[in-house]
């Protein structure tokens, strides 16, 4: 069982963290939305879906300029 951790929200950071912690105690594997997408794509040699996945990352992924330190 996997849980996409950044697709959930809670009232406070504390309640969110402990909800995740409780699930981890029962053996779930946390992951992120981007990991979900890229794990399904798996390999850039899978040309059938490569272009549409790259497009999606450009549209919905965190932009590079936000990821870089200012």
């Amino acid at each position: 069982m996997y849980v996409i951790a950044d697709d959930c929200g809670d009232f406070t950071d504390e309640t969110y963290e402990w909800a995740m912690e409780r699930m981890i105690q029962r053996g779930i594997r946390p992951m992120t939305s981007m990991q979900y997408l890229l794990e399904l794509q798996r390999d850039s040699a899978r040309v059938g879906t490569y272009e549409v996945v790259t497009d999606l990352v450009n549209k919905r992924g965190v932009p590079l300029e936000l990821a870089l330190p200012t």
Partner: protein, 138 residues
């Protein structure tokens, strides 16, 4: 010690070995989430929704339907359904305990789209019949 083998690890997800479950999906409640920025949350969910569409993962989703019609949600969902799929609508609120559903999730092999509705709503079947096959599971 980790040993390298020329094969993917079996914990890796592929569209054939998992069912995407949306649990308690209530977009109108996003305002209350403080652990993540709502715009980021929305973007992440869009990312997963598109991934589900691209790789044709099976989906299980519960509609919050006590006093709301499921139609707007289904209309949005329809944008992500690019191929004919079978839709199994459970007409009970506690559908997660239905044996057929559990079996389907456990095998992870279904290509069905499972949606839960509250019993008080009629299924808006005709609108969706062209793209998805609807059957009922009580």
């Amino acid at each position: 010690m980790i040993k390298g083998v020329p094969a993917p690890d079996n914990t890796l997800l592929s569209s054939a070995n998992h069912v995407l479950m949306m649990i308690d999906h209530q977009s109108q409640m996003a305002f209350a989430a403080k652990s993540i920025d709502p715009v980021m949350l929305r973007n992440n969910i869009a990312l997963v929704a598109h991934a589900f569409a691209i790789f044709k993962s099976p989906l299980s989703s519960r509609l919050r339907s006590k006093n709301r019609s499921p139609v707007p949600y289904l209309m949005r969902l329809k944008r992500f359904i690019s191929m004919p799929r079978s839709l199994i609508a459970r007409l009970q609120t506690r559908g997660r305990i239905a044996a057929s559903w559990t079996a389907s999730i456990n095998t992870g092999k279904t290509k069905s789209l499972w949606l839960e509705f509250g019993p008080q709503f009629e299924l808006p079947v005709p609108r969706f019949r062209q793209s998805i096959k609807v059957s009922k599971c009580m």
